[in-house]
């Protein structure tokens, strides 16, 4: 039964419209995820089978891209030494927003087999926000694809918002980055 009580006509305010648009955008974003593969470790070997005819990543609308500007996902496959972490952060900051980070293997989670190595970092999400982890050493292609599907779910449920976290806790991330990397005085691009 329809209530006879006077209710104010539902008006779309600006926030509401923005939210709607954002949801429409989310549909496109989760169905067209382009990867920037940061293949530092052995997990990278699992990517070719997940891309080619056996598992065919393209049917989910995913594909490799050449530069961080074009990509949506920063795919960190494997361990990160301090030298590569610097470059990873630089690359991450160059990406267009919204941007997501997927970490493959156990190394970005807790250091994996390199957990006690002095030039290798143990936890990636101390330095940049990670949206999806795919555990395993190495994770097989099914779990890699499963991880991507998880990310798509995350985008749909608005839980994959690491890039917002990065803006919000920018100082905290920067502090962590500085603590581990130290400030490097640069005057020559070939020696650092």
């Amino acid at each position: 039964m329809i209530s006879t009580k006077y209710t104010e006509k539902k008006k779309f305010n600006k926030q509401e419209i923005d939210r709607k648009w954002w949801e429409v955008g989310d549909y496109f974003r989760r169905n067209s995820l382009w990867l920037l593969m940061y293949c530092t470790g052995c997990c990278a070997i699992e990517l070719p089978p997940s891309m080619t005819s056996a598992y065919d990543m393209e049917r989910l609308g995913m594909g490799p891209m050449a530069t961080p500007r074009q990509a949506d996902i920063l795919l960190v496959s494997g361990y990160l030494s301090l030298k590569t972490l610097r470059r990873l952060i630089y690359t991450y900051e160059q990406m267009s927003e919204p941007r997501y980070v997927v970490a493959l293997g156990s190394c970005p989670i807790n250091g994996g087999i390199y957990h006690d190595s002095h030039p290798v970092i143990n936890q990636l999400d101390q330095y940049i926000p990670v949206d999806t982890y795919v555990a395993g050493c190495m994770p097989n292609p099914e779990s890699v694809l499963n991880g991507f599907v998880d990310l798509m779910e995350g985008i749909k449920n608005k839980t994959a918002n690491g890039w917002k976290k990065y803006h919000k806790n920018y100082d905290w991330y920067k502090k962590n980055q500085f603590d581990v990397l130290g400030e490097v005085v640069i005057d020559d691009e070939f020696h650092q």
């Binding site: 961080p68 500007r69 610097r86 990873l88 630089y90 160059q94 640069i186 691009e189 650092q192």
Partner: protein, 607 residues
């Protein structure tokens, strides 16, 4: 009413006053020069279009004038380029060694040009040509190198001598020096001879293959504000002689039946094609922005030759329009480079980068000029190239077609190079302090930008003048209405193209503005595959821009230079031999002469 004699004398007088004023103060002298040229331009524009200029001669001895649409077209164009360039003088003249005489020579050469296009007598034509050559010859060495003047003078002299020989042949066979009468009377073998001699002169002035060596050397090393005059105006003198030779003489030779074109003209068209290809390839390779534009002038000279050698009115319209479009475009481009050179002191592409951030208006001027130069709508160059293409296709000239299309696509390559490496790209720290050109230099820049666009959007006004010339030359003019040009195989509506282009830009702009605003980042914050680069020089791709393409013709590109160098060596050796024979003090040579003279005398006795 302006009398041409008065204008010439006025220029000479004003030149002397300008000399004195420049001696006192360079700025005052230069501004006086601007007003002088402006006066000449305004009087020409006021009376010239209606053929109302008085041509009677009262003072100057032995000189006679007449007016024609052809001469007027060239004259007004060149005076206009002179006017545009004169605005640059106050900022450049202080840099030159003989700055007092700069304005004097500039005005004198303009007087020579007025005379050359308004005279009706071949000897006068030669006389005025010599004035132009001699005055400009003293202007050119004030730039970077003195050799440039030598090279310019050498080739110009070859051209003038050939012109003079042609004039003598004409006088010998027709008995008159009057241009129109004598060319009409010319026939038979002497016509072929004059045709060839005049063409040598035209090739030398136009910098066409194989007489092109002087062009890049001279244009590249001339004073910055004088290069636009050389390229936009003086080279067009060659076009004028080419018109005389190709259209007014037209010796009766064997016809190519397939193409309906005389064999001599076809050869000229092929040489024009070679000029286009050669100029394009060399321009692609060149690293100095001014030399690059000089080679582009060479290749555009090739278009003019091709157009005039196809004997129909469509091609003539294309040729005359190309003279106009290229003069405007090349003046615009050279002036933009001059403006850059003024603040940075170099025209080498690899030493420059990111000038757009400090000189956006200069950049726009260059952009519009090169769009016209590459023949892209909606600029003037497109109309002329379209007309020339129509004529080439209609005649079915396949080999010339290859060259013409090659030059047209190749021009995208070379004009883009200064754009990419000099104006765009990384901004160099050493040029962070530079400023946009001052307002007086921006006036001609804006005028040229406007005209480059206007010639491409509403060509009807210019085609009217060109049609007058074509009718004067004895052909029927091309058909056009206010907006539409009709070719042999198609119609063109430049205004519609521009309108649609604007609509397209508008749509793109709306799409752009509706979407989320971008985040502004620095130029150095670019994709480096994760590497940190802090020196923008290492991150600026400008040296050997077209390296993979250049590699393909690297070996062949020195052929012409090597040939001319070898020729110069031979001439030098000949000179040495002469010196040895006539100037030597050694006994044996003297003895040789005595003996040979005795033998000659005895020989004469015997005979």
């Amino acid at each position: 009413m302006a009398s041409i004699e008065f204008l010439i004398l006025f220029l000479v007088g004003a030149g002397i006053i300008a000399y004195l004023l420049t001696k006192l103060n360079t700025i005052v002298g230069s501004i006086f020069t601007i007003f002088t040229v402006m006066f000449v331009f305004v009087s020409l524009a006021q009376y010239g279009f209606g053929m109302d200029i008085i041509t009677t001669v009262k003072i100057l001895p032995g000189i006679s004038f007449s007016q024609s649409y052809l001469g007027f077209y060239f004259a007004i164009l060149i005076v206009f380029i002179y006017l545009m360039v004169s605005f640059f003088h106050p900022y450049f003249i202080d840099k030159y060694k003989y700055k007092d005489s700069y304005n004097l020579l500039f005005l004198l050469s303009l007087a020579g040009i007025l005379g050359a296009f308004y005279t009706n007598n071949f000897l006068n034509l030669f006389f005025f040509f010599e004035i132009i050559i001699w005055t400009t010859m003293f202007l050119i060495p004030q730039g970077k190198s003195k050799e440039a003047a030598v090279s310019y003078f050498g080739f110009s002299l070859a051209g003038s001598v050939s012109l003079l020989l042609g004039v003598f042949v004409i006088f010998n066979s027709t008995g008159t020096f009057n241009i129109n009468d004598s060319l009409a009377l010319l026939s038979g073998n002497s016509a072929v001879l004059v045709f060839a001699l005049f063409l040598i002169a035209a090739f030398a002035k136009l910098g066409a293959f194989p007489l092109h060596i002087w062009l890049p050397i001279t244009h590249g090393n001339a004073p910055d504000p004088f290069s636009p005059v050389l390229s936009g105006a003086l080279v067009k003198l060659g076009g004028f002689i080419a018109v005389l030779a190709l259209i007014k003489i037209t010796p009766a030779t064997v016809m190519f039946r397939a193409m309906d074109i005389p064999i001599g003209h076809y050869l000229v068209a092929i040489l024009g094609g070679l000029t286009i290809v050669f100029g394009t390839l060399m321009a692609i390779k060149e690293d100095d922005a001014k030399k690059l534009l000089a080679y582009s002038s060479m290749s555009h000279g090739g278009y003019i030759l091709v157009a005039f050698s196809i004997l129909n009115s469509m091609a003539f319209a294309g040729g005359f329009y190309h003279i106009l479009a290229h003069a405007l475009a090349s003046a615009g481009a050279f002036m933009a480079i001059a403006a850059v050179s003024r603040v940075t002191g170099t025209t080498k592409i690899k030493e420059l980068g990111g000038m757009i951030h400090k000189m956006p208006i200069t950049y726009l001027a260059y952009l519009i000029a090169i769009i016209s130069m590459a023949g892209i709508p909606p600029m003037g160059g497109f109309i002329s190239k379209w007309l020339i293409f129509q004529a080439v296709i209609d005649k079915g000239m396949v080999f010339v077609g290859v060259a013409v299309f090659f030059g047209s696509v190749g021009s995208f390559l070379y004009v883009f190079r200064p754009l990419a490496a000099l104006f765009l790209g990384q901004e160099f720290t050493e040029y962070k302090h530079v400023k946009e050109a001052p307002i007086l230099m921006l006036i001609p820049t804006f005028v040229l930008m406007g005209l480059n666009i206007y010639t491409g959007v509403f060509p009807a006004a210019f085609l009217k003048v060109i049609n007058n010339i074509i009718v004067e030359l004895g052909y029927t003019g091309i058909t056009y209405t206010t907006y539409v040009i009709s070719g042999n195989n198609g119609v063109l509506n430049p205004a519609l193209i521009s309108l649609v282009f604007v609509v397209g830009i508008l749509i793109a702009f709306i799409i752009f503005i509706l979407l989320k605003k971008s985040r502004k980042v620095e130029l150095m914050d670019t994709y480096t595959a994760g590497n940190f680069i802090h020196d923008e020089h290492l991150f600026h791709y400008s040296t050997d821009f077209y390296a993979p393409l250049e590699r393909l013709y690297e070996k062949q590109s020195h052929w012409m230079t090597t040939f001319y160098r070898a020729l110069a060596e031979k001439v030098k050796e000949l000179g040495k031999l002469g010196k040895y024979l006539f100037m030597s003090k050694s006994l044996s040579v003297t003895l040789l002469w005595i003996i040979s003279i005795i033998i000659f005398l005895l020989w004469g006795e015997v005979l």
